[in-house]
């Protein structure tokens, strides 16, 4: 029994440890402690080891690799200082990649949140068949991105696809989604939103169902128009959900790889749908420049961190006012 064991409970009960858990055991004889600690260590060790080895170690290692000139199959990585970062900031394709990532992310986050919220408000009403439609909106979310990508490749096929056929019926010639950069970016954005809309929808719907009914009644009695009701009653109550979604949807849409890899491989011709994530993959595994790939990954991580911090700040300010 280590001598510290008798002082430990006081430290644990101190202010730094956060609120005490409601179901924790009561203070026990000190002989119970060592046994409890070793059980905790035993239960937590496998998960902690996996997270440390496969999440935290590579996170740090990636930063080290970003300062090297490394071919991923070579045994040794040569340090090159900040050369990769200098190259990244100076390269012509960087602006294209950042632009694509920005357009894709802003479009997917904005549109899927707005549509998800709109659908949630509509399908929150008592309508016949709403359960069927709720399931339909959510169903694509459980399908794999790769399968959706394969399927939508044929939906957008320039010669025999569904989109071409539908447009032809109204007398419009479909663009070649695979040869024109802007249309290719539109295509992957559409596909992503189609697949993931169910997520924002379901989260908003759950939040709406947990809202305060008395506020709705008050608004009705005051004769508020639907728009006023939405803006003044619903939106403020949904603020925490909106914040949660803005972070989780942003993180997942910045990271999208499957749909782009399956549909366009970063193309067409050049970098039409090349995003930061796809650039990490291409530089590391196709161009065999893992050092440069690690640099792009580090830059991406820093951007994500910055954006998340800014989002939290905005949320804080919104809550105070």
């Amino acid at each position: 029994m280590p001598p510290t064991s008798t002082t430990q409970p006081d430290v644990a009960r101190g202010g730094t440890a956060g609120p005490p858990a409601p179901v924790g055991p009561p203070p026990r004889r000190s002989s119970g402690r060592a046994w409890e600690w070793s059980l905790a260590a035993l239960l937590l060790a496998p998960n902690l080891v996996l997270l440390v080895v496969f999440t935290y170690r590579p996170l740090l290692d990636n930063i080290r690799l970003s300062f090297t000139d490394w071919n991923i199959s070579a045994p040794v990585a040569n340090p090159v200082g900040v050369a990769n970062y200098v190259e990244w900031f100076g390269r012509e394709d960087t602006r294209t990649v950042l632009g694509n990532t920005l357009v894709f992310t802003v479009a997917t986050v904005g549109i899927s949140m707005a549509l998800g919220l709109g659908l949630a408000v509509l399908l929150d009403q008592r309508l016949r068949g709403r359960n069927l439609v709720r399931s339909a909106v959510f169903a694509p979310f459980v399908i794999s991105g790769a399968a959706v990508g394969v399927a939508f490749q044929f939906v957008f096929d320039p010669s025999f696809g569904l989109v071409r056929d539908l447009l032809a019926r109204i007398g419009v010639e479909a663009p070649d989604f695979y040869q024109r950069s802007g249309w290719a970016l539109f295509m992957v954005t559409f596909t992503y939103i189609w697949k993931n809309l169910g997520y924002t929808f379901v989260i908003y719907l759950a939040a709406l169902q947990g809202r305060r009914a008395d506020l709705d009644e008050a608004a009705e009695i005051d004769g508020a128009s639907p728009w006023t009701h939405f803006r003044k009653v619903l939106l403020p109550q949904l603020r925490p959900t909106t914040f949660f979604l803005s972070i989780t949807v942003l993180l997942s849409s910045v990271q999208v790889f499957d749909i782009i890899n399956v549909m366009t491989r970063g193309g067409p011709v050049g970098d039409g749908t090349m995003t930061l994530v796809y650039q990490v993959y291409r530089e590391t595994f196709v161009n065999q420049r893992a050092g440069y790939g690690a640099t792009v990954a580090t830059v991406m991580f820093l951007i994500l961190l910055l954006v998340t911090v800014v989002q939290v700040r905005i949320m804080d300010r919104g809550q105070r006012s």
């Binding site: 179901v23 590579p58 399908l123 790769a146 399927a151 009695i221 790889f257 499957d258 690690a294």
Partner: protein, 286 residues
Amino acid sequence: MTARAHGAEAASHRSRGMTVAGYAGMVVVLLVVGVPLFWIVITSLKERGDIYVQPAQWLPDPGTTANYRDVTTRIPFLDYFRNSVIITLVLSASKIVLGVISAYALSLLRFPGRNVVFLVVIAALMVPNQITVISNYALVAQLGWRNTFQGIIIPLAGVAFGTFLMRNQFLSLPGEIIEAARLDGAGPIKLLWRVVLPMSWPTLVAFSLITVVNEWNEYLWPFLMSDDQRTAPLPVGLTLLQNNDGVTNWGPVMAGTVLAMLPVLVLFLVLQRQMIKGLTAGAVKS
């Protein structure tokens, strides 16, 4: 009095407009979601020649199941399917077990540094896969684990979200019941198995479903780790099928896509309530 009557009138007005918008929205949603799915299924049932005609045929004439036969006999589709089942089962089982025991330790056991450990676990949620793949790929390749199941499974087995979810669930259980069980002399294993888990069943089911769906759909890591039919899972296999030759033969590929989508869609339709519960837990309140 008049103000209230006016209000009621406006409210009924409001609900009529909203009802119309609601039904219109429902029709649009069914079309946008349903038509591409219908198109995919229809294509998978068409004879080869009928796929490549303009204007498109909206009903197969005549229908054929040849594409399904082709994709399962001529191509190693069943191998990919089997690999997916193996990877999903093993990975989900490990994640569920690790999530439950980690959450149990973090919520019902007292030990120094508990909050730090919890922070280490949930902070992992913020680390994108794309940052870790380069270094992990090098490590796994060094171990000679490319194109092996352990190479695909072990690096993905750490569980942050599930730990968070189950810990919150365990903390919400009534303390008196747990105390009573302890006073009755239940050891930690008996307490977990007989008291804590039975009371947490709905959350555990939701967590398990979300995990199974996620692992079935996992793409980036298996794509990097595996490029042959002995270990590649379905999402990777599908894209390998597609790139077989220069021109994609869409019939069998669409049949394969339907077969890849079907298991999760059926699972979802049967158990959607639980799945949605797992997804929304922690997202809505506070």
